[in-house]
């Protein structure tokens, strides 16, 4: 086996193949970033809808809740297939990359919505009341008061989710997008050793995931110690014995 590997390595690590793999990595990253950023933005919308007040808005609130609860409980692979066949029923020659991004977006919206909701709820209710007492609309309160204060609580988990999603995009290979796992399967089918190919692919995923997750943790530290997180003013002096 060692001899086989030794023979394959020079054929495997050619410039051409390297470029191919790098492109595939680019596709993986692009899908993840576009899908997760869109998902992040849409998640804000979902949370906003979910908080619409009034009895008439019950269907809207319900729809928002159902969306999140359902898509958090379906495997990503199933979501991919659903999006694929649903879109192809309407547009038979839709771009596979677009389909993948839409699937990623739908999925990450559901997960990120919970993160954002948690962030909003972490802002003291009194802030919302003060804004309401001054006739702020719900939207204005969100934009001017709640969102700025919830960044440190929202951003780190949202980033961590996106970084973690890089690995999940491997499933998108099933619909034929030319990302990293797909190229891996291709190379394996061409006859290269499975150990070599998938070992390398694993390493390439690692090279994307690990540094970014370290960056995510750095971001979290940075946000946690920003001026807005300095210790709150004491309201009453501590009793001195």
């Amino acid at each position: 086996m060692i001899e086989r590997l030794a023979g394959e390595i020079p054929r495997f690590f050619t410039l051409q193949k390297l470029v191919l793999l790098l492109e595939a990595m680019g596709t993986t990253l692009a899908m993840t970033v576009i899908g997760c950023v869109l998902g992040f933005l849409l998640a804000f919308g979902i949370v906003f809808l979910r908080q619409t007040p009034g009895p008439l808005a019950l269907p809207i609130r319900l729809a928002a809740i159902l969306y999140v609860e359902i898509f958090r409980r379906i495997p990503f692979l199933v979501v991919i297939y659903l999006v694929l066949f649903f879109i192809q029923a309407f547009v038979s020659n839709a771009s596979l990359f677009a389909i993948a991004v839409i699937a990623i977006c739908i999925y990450s919206t559901a997960y990120t919505a919970d993160i954002i909701r948690g962030g909003f709820e972490s802002v003291a209710r009194q802030q919302t009341e003060a804004a309401a007492a001054m006739n702020f609309s719900r939207w204005q309160t969100l934009v001017s008061v709640i969102v700025p204060q919830s960044w440190p609580v929202i951003l780190p988990p949202a980033v961590a989710f996106a970084v973690g999603f890089i690995k999940d995009t491997a499933l998108v290979s099933q619909v034929g997008v030319f990302e990293l796992t797909f190229r891996g399967k291709e190379l394996n089918n061409e006859g290269f050793s499975g150990l070599l190919v998938f070992g390398t692919i694993a390493f390439l995923y690692f090279a994307m995931s690990y540094p970014l997750s370290r960056w995510g943790r750095w971001l979290e530290q940075r946000l946690a110690s920003s001026p807005s997180k300095r210790p709150q003013q004491r309201l009453r002096p501590a009793h001195r014995p």
């Binding site: 409980r73 690995k167 999940d168 070992g199 995923y205 690692f206």
Partner: protein, 225 residues
């Protein structure tokens, strides 16, 4: 749109799908418990082991949490035959998922280990408990209660995300069955919508039961929603 929905056809296949659901559940259970054992070992090494063991456990965790489960499974399924190990699809999926789960569970358990405060152990000691008794009556219950929500949540995650990966190499769990049947009756949308529904029900039942068990056994409020 030139597609007419035929849900009747999909529902007729329910028994076949449920067979797949059973396999999903089996896979989930085995993966979880296997991963938990690894997690226990890994957390122990990382908390109590010497520098070398801690390093090794650390590398294991970092590697398996930064590479896709699918690639890990592919590695086993397509790579191992080259060294003479011929595992079937199910085994490769199981081992791959277990190793993957083990890495995450190591971190979950380690958090539990760390959460035991010295003071609790000292209190137990002054009460005259032996080390073994301390472990049994103070440490284990404390850790179990502390990490139960995370464990329960992780089990549901495995059930939903992890097991479906097997479908890619042809394991006949729920998603795999859906693929199998769809390639024959071409009712992909209906089949997968139905399967999505089954997954939602499956995970809800699992979350609910685990939350109830948590409340009863540990007085822990694990989240369902």
């Amino acid at each position: 749109m030139n597609y007419t929905f035929q849900f009747g056809v999909a529902f007729a296949q329910l028994p076949e799908l449920l067979k797949g659901a059973v396999l999903t559940f089996e896979l989930g259970l085995l993966t979880f418990w296997g991963g938990a054992l690894i997690g226990l070992l890994g957390a122990s090494l990382k908390t109590f082991g010497g520098a070398v063991l801690r390093r090794l456990a650390g590398i294991y965790v970092i590697f398996f949490t930064n590479t896709p489960a699918l690639i890990q499974i592919y590695f086993l399924y397509f790579g191992l035959p080259e060294v003479g190990i011929l595992w079937d699809k199910f085994t490769c999926t199981l081992i791959g998922l277990t190793l993957n789960a083990g890495a995450y569970l190591t971190e979950i358990m380690r958090a539990g280990f760390i959460s035991v405060r010295r003071t609790e152990m000292e209190a137990a000691e002054t009460l005259g408990m032996s080390v073994w008794q301390q472990i049994r009556f103070v440490i284990v219950p404390h850790i179990a209660k502390a990490i139960y929500p995370a464990l329960a949540n992780f089990f549901v995650v495995i059930l939903v995300m992890g097991t479906s990966v097997g479908a890619v190499i042809g394991v006949d769990e729920l998603t795999g069955q859906a693929i199998n049947i769809s390639t024959e009756n071409y009712r992909w949308l209906e089949m997968f919508t139905l399967v999505a529904g089954i997954y939602v029900v499956l995970t809800l039942v699992a979350s609910l039961s685990l939350a109830l068990v948590g409340r009863w056994a540990f007085r822990v409020k694990a989240k369902v929603f």
